[in-house]
């Protein structure tokens, strides 16, 4: 397994076939969650809090219930009691009480948009009218919107039961403190010739998937429920919904629909249990679809952050010490990815002395959810900007500076144990040698910036079955919702192992009753872990094919070989047999052939990316235009290069949006003021140049095909890369996101004032 798979000979892997689900998606036939409809189906809508922080004194639903067409209303009273402790649910950790409180507010609302009640009616319009007839009495409390506000003495407490690992029995908004350290930072900084210290603030941003959350719930009188929804993890929807509803997992079947983007945001539940509750009350299927405004107000964005970075380097450009303090907005309930951010913030570099303190803080904002390399983009914005500054101080090219300090195989990870084979330096070299980086950037107010990023990638559990049909074609069944073309990869891996043309393999994403447990599509794990299960399942089918051919030839299995898609009898001159020729004889040799495998995948190979951007800044407006962008990323092995490039381009575009435009804008009352795509502005195609990609393939020794994950790390570098480019263009170091025109203009004017001032003083 440790061989360099990049030099291995593949027939299918590495090619670019048309994706198997493609035609359905260009003809409008693909069924996304909101496309499901059933006879007698009702439509649900959710009443949401207009306040960021308030006690619910009473909810009156009688008027709404009397509206013709309204069939049922549910509130938190319809939910079973839930326990306040951390539990394992699949691979996720869950606090059942917080989860329940997020589905429908119990006695308090904790953010603008917090769900309070849900209505089922004969049309969505009637359901909406009914919402206006529900009367809620609130006692409004002061909102706590930032890390600073949440941690200052006397701050209003969001969750009365929240305690952390340090403050004993004191109620707090600080859910958790993490600390990582190595060496002696005092000695480290003493050895440094240059020390840079800066504070960064990033705004909360949303994944921005185009498809809103949706769910259709059908509760049968026999106590069996079915949920159709767009999710990254059908099994997680099942276990989490069971948790909230107090139902056994086996009584819920989840059918994953086609999913219109997720990026981490569709790894949890919002509407799913409500659809089941309403269906149970009405006896009819109930569909709920969020509006865009609901998506932004009440699904899980990624935290805003405050990060302080102090780093030191010697004259010759060696990083010697880092001291980092970081606090993330978890949203209304604990669980921001601040620990991940802390473990990634300096992960690309070998630094002998560091101290990282990280805090998870609750605030009156929606509970955050995963977003592509959770917690890491914020962190890299801070560290990669400081590193750029140190490189400049040392007079070293920023890429060379990274290569000099970058981690290689054997270098210690933040936690200590050494990295296995990794491709960080290769991504830096790839950028350094790119035509883009070698080209000269000329013109006024233009600048070029680079930055790098690290992400762990994930393993976890996956199941797969490979069925060989009676005509010798195959289907491959997994439980991983396909969010970016992974079905193509699963078909390609199967085809590669079995020597079939990829068009002879049909990939299926199955529901929770039709395949073994499979964890969520997240952590860049599908091609890695589900791909590993598919590989093993195809190998299992191969073993059975060999046995069957042996039977037909009246030989022993070890006298038969499978090569190049053909079965060969060793030795004598028996002509080889294809799977197609053998398939009609399955019945007489023992029945159908089904290869199976389940894995809890180990051998995860971390991912690195390095990005270079050229920008032009309009000094009069602060508007930044991207001129050119190239990203290099280590994929391990690219199964379908087009979709690897697609992941790299998509992640980069999201990073650019994060850098330049996107932010949650709350007013003083804690009301979100930009809950639509007009004001929460994600990049359009007019905002972006072509995004050039360089796939580095440094095989992951822990995977039979060398695969790492590719879904996430590309989002990490762009924010810092854009900031570094802006500095080169106009001389200002931006320490907050978004670097939108008003904010950048302010910084430019301040900088201009300062330089004129100092010029005058000279």
């Amino acid at each position: 397994m440790a061989e360099s798979t990049t030099t291995r000979d593949f027939k299918v892997i590495g090619t670019r076939p048309i994706r198997p689900d493609g035609v359905d998606k260009v003809t409008g036939r693909a069924k996304f969650g909101a496309d499901y409809a059933f006879p007698g189906m009702l439509h649900g809508k959710v009443l949401r809090s207009p306040h960021a922080h308030a006690i619910i004194k009473s909810i009156k639903i009688d008027k709404a219930l009397k509206l013709p067409g309204v069939k049922a209303i549910v509130t938190s009273k319809d939910l079973p009691a839930a326990e306040n402790k951390l539990e394992q649910s699949g691979e996720m950790t869950v606090n059942p009480m917080h989860l329940s409180m997020n589905i429908l507010a119990h006695d308090k609302v904790l953010y603008d948009g917090h769900a309070i009640a849900a209505v089922a009616a004969t049309s969505p319009h009637i359901a909406e009218e009914a919402l206006r007839l529900i009367e809620v009495e609130y006692e409004v409390l002061p909102p706590v919107m930032t890390v600073d506000a949440a941690t200052k003495p006397g701050a209003p407490i969001l969750l009365k039961d929240l305690r952390n690992n340090e403050e004993g029995d004191k109620p707090t908004n600080v859910a958790q403190h993490y600390q990582f350290k190595r060496g002696d930072i005092a000695a480290g900084f003493k050895a440094a010739d240059y020390v840079i210290e800066r504070e960064f603030n990033t705004a909360m941003v949303h994944q921005g998937y185009i498809e809103p959350h949706n769910a259709v719930g059908i509760y049968n009188s026999d106590g069996q429920a079915t949920i159709y929804c767009s999710t990254q993890g059908a099994f997680d929807v099942r276990s989490l919904s069971a948790q909230v509803l107090g139902m056994p997992v086996g009584k819920i079947k989840v059918v994953p629909a086609e999913i219109g983007g997720g990026f981490g945001g569709k790894t949890t539940i919002y509407l799913e249990p409500l659809s089941v509750l309403l269906s149970k009350k009405t006896g009819a299927p109930v569909k709920l679809v969020m509006s865009r405004s609901e998506v932004l107000r009440a699904s899980g964005p990624t935290p805003g952050s405050k990060i302080k970075v102090k780093m030191g380097a010697t004259k010759d450009g060696k990083l010697v010490a880092a001291e980092i303090w970081m606090a993330y907005q978890a949203g209304a309930f604990p669980g921001s990815p601040v620990a991940a951010g802390a473990l990634c913030i300096i992960a690309p570099y070998t630094i002998e002395n560091f101290l990282i303190d990280a805090y998870d803080v609750v605030v009156n904002r929606p509970k955050t959810a995963a977003y592509r390399a959770p917690g890491t983009t914020q962190a890299a914005f801070a560290s990669e900007t400081v590193i750029d500054e140190l490189a400049e101080k040392c007079g070293i090219d920023p890429i060379d500076f990274r290569i000099k300090n970058g981690v290689k195989e054997g270098a210690p990870q933040v936690l200590g144990p050494p990295f296995k084979r990794i491709g960080f330096i290769q991504t830096c070299e790839a950028i350094k040698n790119s035509e883009h980086y070698k080209s000269k950037l000329t013109g006024k107010f233009r600048g070029r910036g680079v930055a790098s990023g690290f992400w762990f990638n994930a393993g976890m559990q996956s199941s797969a079955t490979v069925n060989i049909h009676t005509d010798g074609t195959a289907s491959v069944v997994t439980g991983s919702p396909d969010i970016g073309g992974s079905r193509a990869s699963m078909a390609m891996i199967t085809a590669e192992v079995l020597g079939l043309p990829v068009t002879d393999v049909r990939p299926i994403t199955a529901d929770t009753d039709s395949i073994g447990h499979t964890d969520v599509t997240a952590g860049s794990r599908v091609t890695f872990a589900t791909g590993m299960a598919v590989y093993e399942a195809a190998k299992d089918a191969e073993r059975q094919l060999i046995e069957r051919a042996a039977k037909v030839w009246e030989k022993k299995p070890d006298e038969v070989e499978f090569r190049g898609g053909m079965l060969h009898a060793k030795g004598n001159g028996v002509p080889p047999m294809s799977i197609k020729q053998l398939a009609p004889r399955f019945a007489r040799t023992g029945g159908p052939i089904t290869g199976r495998a389940s894995v809890n995948a180990r051998g995860v190979g971390p991912g690195f990316a390095t990005t270079v951007v050229d920008v032009e800044v309009d000094p009069d407006t602060g508007k930044v235009q991207l001129l050119r962008c190239t990203v290099a990323q280590d994929a391990g092995k690219a199964i379908h290069p087009s979709y690897v490039e697609g992941q790299m381009q998509g992640g980069t575009a999201q990073g650019i949006g994060w850098a330049l435009n996107e932010e949650y804008f709350y007013d003083d009352n804690g009301t979100l003021r930009n809950s639509g795509f007009l004001d929460y502005r994600i990049p359009t195609c007019l905002d972006l140049p072509m995004i050039e990609t360089i796939i580095v393939e440094e095989a992951n020794p822990g995977h039979p095909l060398g695969v790492r994950g590719v879904g996430e790390v590309s989002i990490v570098p762009p924010v810092a890369a854009v900031a570094n480019a802006i500095y080169r263009a106009v001389g200002v170091r931006m320490t907050q996101t978004p670097m939108s025109p008003p904010k950048l203009l302010k910084a430019i004017l301040k900088h201009r004032g300062a330089t004129q001032h100092s010029a005058a003083a000279d």
Binding site: L86, E87, S89, E91, V94, P334, P374, K420, G459
Partner: protein, 89 residues
Amino acid sequence: MPTVVIPALLRKFTGGVERVEVPGKSIRELVQRLGERFPGIDRQLLQDGDIRPSIAVSIDGEIATGGVLDTVGENSEVHFIPALGGGEV
């Protein structure tokens, strides 16, 4: 003997010591021995008889998947780190 690296915030139980050599062939044994030597630390690591959901175990640089059932080698290095499944749901 396997080495356990104590997470920074649990070092108050070990008097600040970072690396502890602990005999044992499984994570269960290591945690048990740790608890005998540094009373209270085992309760920080366990919940309902298994590793806490908020903690992941890394053995020789790789995230292990078996909780207390995972076996360790004679010279293994074991870290207890925050679980990174995207945090609490």
